[in-house]
């Protein structure tokens, strides 16, 4: 009923890819995922929480990641997400799609080469 917000659409797909890729290193909660992406991208990518949690729940609904409540290293209960087998397969698909896209974009930007 409510149309998807533009912010959501901007990162659509890309955010999914980033989340899936992050989870390759092992289960993590939402806050840790956002922090990891931010750190690895050297603060170039800031994940907005307004997009992160809907994306996590969407991926869970699709069966690519699974969630479980666990106690965090700081002793609090947190919702940990892990990659499922279909999620792993999806990661490969998304990664190759991203590479194709980035190659294409690069070609457009530098047509002379």
């Amino acid at each position: 009923m409510t149309p998807a917000s533009p912010r959501n659409q901007l990162l659509y797909g890309t955010l999914d890819l980033l989340i899936l890729r992050t989870l390759v290193y092992g289960p993590a909660h939402g806050h840790a995922i956002a922090g990891h992406i931010q750190r690895v991208s050297e603060d170039a990518l800031r994940i907005e929480t307004g997009s992160l949690y809907p994306a996590l729940h969407r991926l869970e609904a699709r069966g690519w990641i699974a969630a479980k409540w666990k106690t965090s290293d700081k002793g609090k209960r947190a919702r940990y997400y892990r990659l499922t087998r279909t999620g792993r397969r999806q990661l490969v698909v998304e990664q190759s799609r991203w590479q194709q896209l980035s190659v294409a974009v690069t070609r457009v930007l530098r047509p002379a080469d």
């Binding site: 009923m1 806050h31 929480t49 949690y53 609904a61 965090s72």
Partner: protein, 904 residues
């Protein structure tokens, strides 16, 4: 894929827990964020505030995350369903009325549909490849004038006499198989009052094999059994077996006794099997032994009165026309070859029809027509219920104009609002459907027994067909009823503004009034039907059948085993019955009034070379007090008296019909009848009595009858044999004859232990069965019309009340400007009146058109376009309409001018 679906369902199921979890998750995120900032050196308070700010809109995040769970549409649906139930609760009275009518409408239509589909659409169960099985119809003309020329109207009958049937089997090698059967007839199993009356059908040896039915136990009747030399066997229906045995195997070997022949049960047929007709049968017997035992050995001849219904199964490649031509040839040859076949139309043709008898070329019998009309009536009730429901939704839409306007303003599409209305409508229909199943279960069986009493009933009224019908009806009605409100809602989108004031014109009124007019029109049709049927019923009830029928009971003696009656036992019976309390008098005769008549052939009438009668004449040998007891009035001359003895002049009394046909212009008293073809002795006509109606209720149903005193039926008269074998006691009672049935039966058990119970019958009961069609018609139409009128009244009330509420301010202003209360009252009443009047005009036209369907059912060719009936129906509807608009009208007339002025 499956996992995703499961996941979604889990989400839906644990919605509350998921919500809490999402909150926990977000809380954890905020805490972790704040902690990071505290670690970086911020004060806890500031850290929390910053974390909160960075997170952004928590509500929106939560909303978007929930959406990802994928049950947003489902949630919408639940919300809509919830709102539909709230709507129903708020409008309790109207909802109840709608659900009640819908339940009755659907609940009565379901068994009706099932009944009609079994008559006209579905082949009877357990018949293999029913499309290749055909019924043979003989189309022929009657020699009604008895002049040797066949000029009567062509009539198709699915019956053949034995010589014609056997010609089919002998000469018609083209068809795969030919079989014959008789329609099930009540026959007592054994003798005496405990003998059970079973529905027995006689079948040829090929019959069951031709249909392809498989027994559930034992074997079928085959060609070897259809032989006088074979051991008599029988097969029984599943229903018969169930009533008496615990399992089908137990029924095998049981014995049955019909017409003094003992049959051994060798097979049980499957549940629901009733042969090619829907008429229920309990027992099937092989034709040869059964007919011979019942009819004597002459049944194979033309004119024996025995006929059977033929069936054929066509092989692939043989057309219906070719088979019909072959059968026609066979029947014509059979008629030409036999001397007595000459009394039948030699030009008869045979036509092959569907196995479904009702589709055959002959016109529909009355009971089926009545069933069709009842089907139409229940459909009308359903239609009214649908219109009503549509109206309820419309009123709701009108009342929610603001809500809808807000929804539109917030961007809800036409589609969304339409969906909401469709869901409300479907919820209402579903609730009604559930109630309808209760109605079907409760009334379905009764309805079927009332309309088609002799038909094979499925065990449960709530069967697959009925439930399927209910489901489809609920869906169709739910969607149909939503159309008008949805169109209105969509239209109001363009007109409606958020600031619409209360004084705005009542939108949707044209649609709503239109629906009210339709409803009123349909109600009028039903009211007219009631009135028309009631008039027929009353006319039929008041028919003077000649007999003073109210206090008559008849006891049929004799006609068993063919042995002559013992006169002393008959006399003893008469004396004992006469001495019963409540009995006035007892007479004797040879015919049962309104039951049977014996053809008194071989009669010569003075002045005529051949009998001057179209049908008959019939003869009745009676005791001397017969006319006093039965109430037949002597119109001319005298009745019998004690001087009419064996040694005095032979006398006769004739009825008026006899007199008019034999001696139209002269007095019959003193003329001669010659009883017996060789008789030369004059039997003097001494009196004329009024004509009684024996089988029908119309004046044209009376037949010529002559009466002779039993005392003169001595061995010298040809009719003595007849009198010795057949006797009926006619009992005149003081009160309703039902009260003396039990003592009469006990006397009967004493003196005539072989006779079955049904030899005792009361005339009021016989008469009631004759006017049953009109009774059922009046009741059904009356009940439907009452329901329809009630609904129309509720609908009219709702529309007028709504209009008045909308115009309350206007009425107040009118009052303030000096309008009189009575004037306002009249204004609103006129509105209700004019709506009803429009309905009456439309309904009259509809009723005039629909009259053709009930016309054949009415008594004595009465017209369904009866002005008096129409006037009465219109009057009832107008009265109801004025009554329904009175309450809102009174409110309008009491509108408070002060309130109106304050509001302005």
């Amino acid at each position: 894929m499956l996992r995703q679906v499961l996941h979604r369902f889990r989400c839906l199921w644990h919605r509350r827990r998921k919500d809490a979890e999402l909150d926990d998750e977000i809380r954890f995120h905020l805490a972790a964020e704040a902690e990071e900032r505290i670690d970086a050196g911020l004060a806890p308070e500031q850290a929390h505030a910053e974390a909160q700010r960075d997170f952004g809109n928590v509500l929106l995040t939560r909303e978007l995350s929930r959406e990802a769970w994928g049950w947003a549409p489902a949630e919408c649906l639940l919300r809509d369903i919830g709102s539909a139930f709230r709507m129903m609760r708020r409008n309790t009275g109207y909802t109840c009325a709608v659900v009640l009518t819908m339940a009755l409408g659907i609940g009565l239509n379901a068994p009706m549909y099932e009944m009609l589909s079994r008559l006209f659409l579905q082949a009877p169960p357990h018949i293999v490849d029913p499309d290749t099985v055909h019924r043979l119809w003989v189309r022929e003309r009657d020699d009604s004038e008895n002049r040797g020329s066949f000029t009567g109207p062509a009539i198709a009958r699915d019956r053949m006499q034995w010589p014609e049937f056997s010609a089919l089997t002998a000469g018609n090698a083209h068809v795969d198989a030919v079989a014959g059967y008789t329609a099930p007839r009540f026959t007592p199993n054994g003798r005496g009052q405990t003998a059970e009356n079973l529905r027995v059908s006689w079948i040829t040896g090929e019959f069951l094999d031709l249909l392809g039915v498989e027994p559930v136990a034992g074997r079928l009747i085959g060609p070897v059994d259809d032989d006088l030399a074979a051991t008599p066997v029988a097969v029984v229906s599943d229903g018969y077996q169930r009533e008496r045995f615990t399992n089908p195997r137990e029924a095998l070997g049981a014995t049955l006794e019909f017409d003094d022949v003992t049959y051994v049960v060798v097979g049980v047929l499957p549940p629901g099997f009733s042969g090619p007709d829907p008429n229920r049968a309990d027992v099937w017997l092989p034709l040869e032994p059964a007919v011979t035992a019942s009819r004597g050995e002459y049944w194979r001849r033309f004119g024996s009165g025995f006929s059977l219904r033929p069936l054929v199964r066509l092989p692939p490649g043989l057309t219906v026309e070719a088979a019909g031509a072959a059968a026609t040839a066979a029947v014509r040859v059979a008629r030409a070859d036999s001397p007595s076949g000459g009394s039948l139309d030699p030009e008869a043709t045979v036509v092959l029809g569907s196995i479904l008898r009702m589709r055959g070329p002959s016109p529909l019998p009355g009971e089926i027509r009545l069933t069709l009309v009842v089907g139409g009536v229940t459909l009308l009730v359903l239609l009214i219920a649908t219109v009503n429901m549509s109206n309820l939704l419309l009123v709701r839409v009108a009342a929610r104009r603001r809500e809808l306007a807000v929804r539109y303003a917030l961007g809800a599409g036409r589609w969304g609002v339409g969906r909401l209305l469709a869901i409300e409508s479907l919820v209402l229909a579903t609730v009604s459907g559930a109630a309808a199943l209760t109605v079907t279960a409760a009334a379905g069986r009764t309805l079927r027994l009332m309309l088609l009493p002799g038909h094979q009933q499925t065990a449960d009224a709530l069967n697959v067909t009925a439930i399927g019908f209910t489901g489809i009806a609920v869906l169709a009605i739910g969607l149909c009823a939503a159309i008008a409100p949805a169109v209105y809602a969509a239209r109001s989108r363009q007109i409606e503004r958020l600031d619409s004031s209360r004084g705005a014109s009542a939108l949707g009124t044209p649609v709503r009034t239109g629906l009210i007019v339709v409803q009123a029109a349909l109600s009028l049709v039903l009211l007219c039907g009631t009135a028309v049927f009631y008039r027929s019923f009353e006319a039929a009830r008041q028919v003077d059948v000649g007999y003073a029928k109210e206090n008559l009971l008849t006891v049929e003696l004799g006609d068993f085993g063919g042995s002559p009656l013992d006169e002393s036992t008959v006399g003893a019976m008469e004396v004992r019955v006469r001495n019963l309390p409540g009995v006035r008098d007892v007479a004797q005769g040879t015919n049962t009034p309104m039951g049977s008549a014996a053809a008194g052939g071989g009669l010569r009438v003075e002045g005529h070379d051949r009998p001057p009668f179209r049908y008959g004449p019939y003869v009745n040998l009676t005791s001397t007090n017969f006319f006093e007891v039965t109430g037949l009035e002597v119109l001319e001359g005298r009745g019998f008296n004690e001087w009419d003895r064996a040694d005095t002049q032979n006398v006769a009394v004739i009825n008026m019909t006899f007199a008019q046909q034999a001696w139209p212009s002269r007095s019959p008293v003193g003329r001669c009848l010659f009883v017996g073809s060789e008789a030369t002795d004059c039997t003097t006509v001494v009196g004329v009595v009024e004509s009684a109606l024996e089988w029908g209720l119309l004046a044209t149903d009376s037949h010529p009858v002559y009466f002779l005193p039993i005392s003169q039926a001595t061995s010298t008269t040809p009719l003595s044999m007849f009198a010795a074998n057949q006797r009926v006691l006619i009992v005149r009672t003081r009160d309703h004859p039902g009260t003396v049935v039990a003592p009469v039966l006990s006397i009967l058990a004493d003196l005539f232990p072989e006779l079955p119970r049904h030899t005792v019958q009361s005339l009021p009961a016989i008469f009631a069965s004759q006017i049953e069609t009109w009774r059922i018609g009046t009741r059904l139409f009356g009940a439907s019309a009452a329901l329809a009128v009630l609904l129309a009244a509720i609908g009219l009330y709702a529309v007028i009340a709504f209009g008045v509420r909308q115009r309350e301010l206007e009425f107040g202003i009118r009052r303030a400007l000096g309008a009189q209360a009575s004037r306002l009252l009249r204004m609103v009443l006129t509105r209700g009146f004019s709506l009803a009047a429009a309905g009456i005009v439309a309904g009259t036209l509809a009723a005039l058109w629909a009259g053709r369907f009930v016309e054949p059912l009415l008594f004595d060719g009465r017209t369904p376009r009866d002005p008096l009936a129409f006037a009465a129906a219109a009057l009832v509807l107008l009265t109801i309409a004025v009554m329904a608009s009175f309450l809102p009208a009174r409110r309008a007339s009491r509108a408070d001018p002060r309130q109106a002025l304050e509001a302005e």
